[in-house]
Subunit: 260 residues, 2 copies
């Protein structure tokens, strides 16, 4: 059975997609985990970030989610040039599908159901969430075993963490008692901003002590360049700081979730 | 009659809030415009960014929008320590209000109606939008005269601009024929990333040539520090790069919209 990890944050632009993509790639490349990366953001930036790596295929995700009989996310999955990595891209119809799902009975548990078969075919499933606490993010948290919350080193990023963790309580109680916080990941850490970093890291340490992941992702323009090239960081710049940081994150993650 | 400017981008974290707040402050401080800054993002980051400047007051925005008789946004407005700047903060109930509005008749024109009185009391009204093309963003575009689209210097930011501009067509046709693109504002420009900047700026120039605002906002940690202190950049670090950049943007804006 796979471990399902939701990568979510209310705040926009904190590195949800950059982390989902490169973590998925590192787990597949260096730890031989069978990984399914699912894009739940109608912006479709997972597909954009890996455009040179993804093989054509898979039904539109919006069709898969909207169908009446039991949806199976594997219908929407396709392989990539990276062994062990499969991807479900978000199609433009996903925004409208999210609105149409808003009034469906059991919408919050739809994704959990849609991942049932996928869980037996993969070791790790990563869900990239949109910067919006709507139907898809709630459904992702209801389907997940673990939650990874990226946070950029600014006061608004920290507020974004708090806002997301407020959602976890009710979801834990009513929809998904197994949901566990994997950790808070500081991203886009810029070594030049020592006083801001110090104060933000102090705040995170005070408020979330044990939940703070003991490594951070530094600012590295190679990560954006890799996105521009449509590649993961390991294909684009394997010796870069971004590659080193995400590889270290994958190592930490594998130790945390043990042998699934 | 005020000029209403929506500050919107599908992409998260591109500087919508940072730009709305500091542009509003610059217009009030240096151009003596009567400015109303409205936070349409349930995250409530306008209030957080100006927490040391805002006077208590104003009804919750969600109540104002949900009431049956003609809503008036001025009911939710309050003054600040900056002369000529008033603010409407987003309250935590705004997320739920957005969902409840989704099925209301005429929801797309609600904000336009709610701003009718405010337009006669102010010269410029800025609408900070959430990173989500939902009811509130659509209502903001339906209420606005001009549209400012921040974009960070990365491939996903550029896609975010395209995704937002796709919304403008149908809104222009069916809801708001007066809506005009004010421009695309490049934010968080980091002088060290010359090759990425060049390629992103080239792309923006190719695709949106005349719409690209002829100045950019550079990366400046003082902007995040100001947010941490709950102040606009002019109160926090008036000699900083961030202050200079947003002051130049305000000057450009006043020339563009003329004497309203
Ligand atoms: N460590 C990093 N160093 C440099 N740039 C980064 C880093 N992480 C992310 N970025 C850049 O920051 C921007 C935001 O990252 P990303 O799109 O992954 O965030 P997100 O949380 O998924 O955004 P959204 O809320 O829109 O979904 C992108 O342009 C990305 O290239
Ligand atoms: N020019 C800049 N230099 C440095 N940091 C910046 C700059 N502009 C914005 N930031 C920082 O980047 C982060 C994102 O900015 P901001 O929150 O304004 O974006 P947004 O588009 O409003 O995000 P959201 O999509 O969550 O509403 C914030 O932490 C902010 O402090
Ligand atoms: Mg994303
Ligand atoms: Mg914002």
């Amino acid at each position: 059975q796979a471990t399902v990890i939701a990568v979510a944050a209310r705040k926009g632009g904190v590195g949800k997609t950059t982390s989902s993509v490169n973590l998925a790639a590192a787990l597949a490349r260096f730890h031989k985990r069978r990984v399914l990366l699912v894009d739940l953001d109608p912006q479709g930036h997972v597909g954009a970030s890996l455009s040179s790596m993804i093989h054509p295929g898979g039904a539109p995700l919006s069709d898969t989610l909207l169908q009446d009989r039991g949806p199976d996310l594997l219908d929407a999955a396709t392989s990539t040039r990276i062994d062990h990595l499969h991807v479900v891209c978000a199609d433009p119809g996903l925004a409208e599908a999210e609105e149409r799902l808003a009034t469906r009975i059991g919408k919050e548990l739809l994704l959990r159901e849609a991942l049932r078969v996928a869980r037996t075919h993969h070791d790790i499933i990563l869900l990239d969430c949109p910067p919006h606490a709507g139907t898809l993010t709630v459904a992702a948290l209801a389907a997940a075993d673990r939650l990874l919350v990226p946070c950029d080193p600014g006061p608004l990023g920290v507020r974004g963490v708090e806002a997301l963790l407020e959602l976890v309580g009710p979801i834990h109680e009513r929809l998904n008692p197994d949901l566990d916080l994997l950790g808070i990941l500081v991203t886009r850490l810029d070594g030049r901003n020592t006083s801001l970093n110090e104060s933000v890291l102090d705040t995170l340490q005070d408020r979330f002590a044990d939940a703070l992941i003991p490594l951070a992702i530094g600012v590295n323009t190679r990560l954006a360049q890799a996105q521009e090239a449509g590649e993961d960081i390991f294909a684009h710049a394997p010796a870069s700081r971004g590659a080193t940081d995400y590889r270290a994150l994958a190592e930490w993650l594998v130790r945390q979730i043990g042998d699934t």
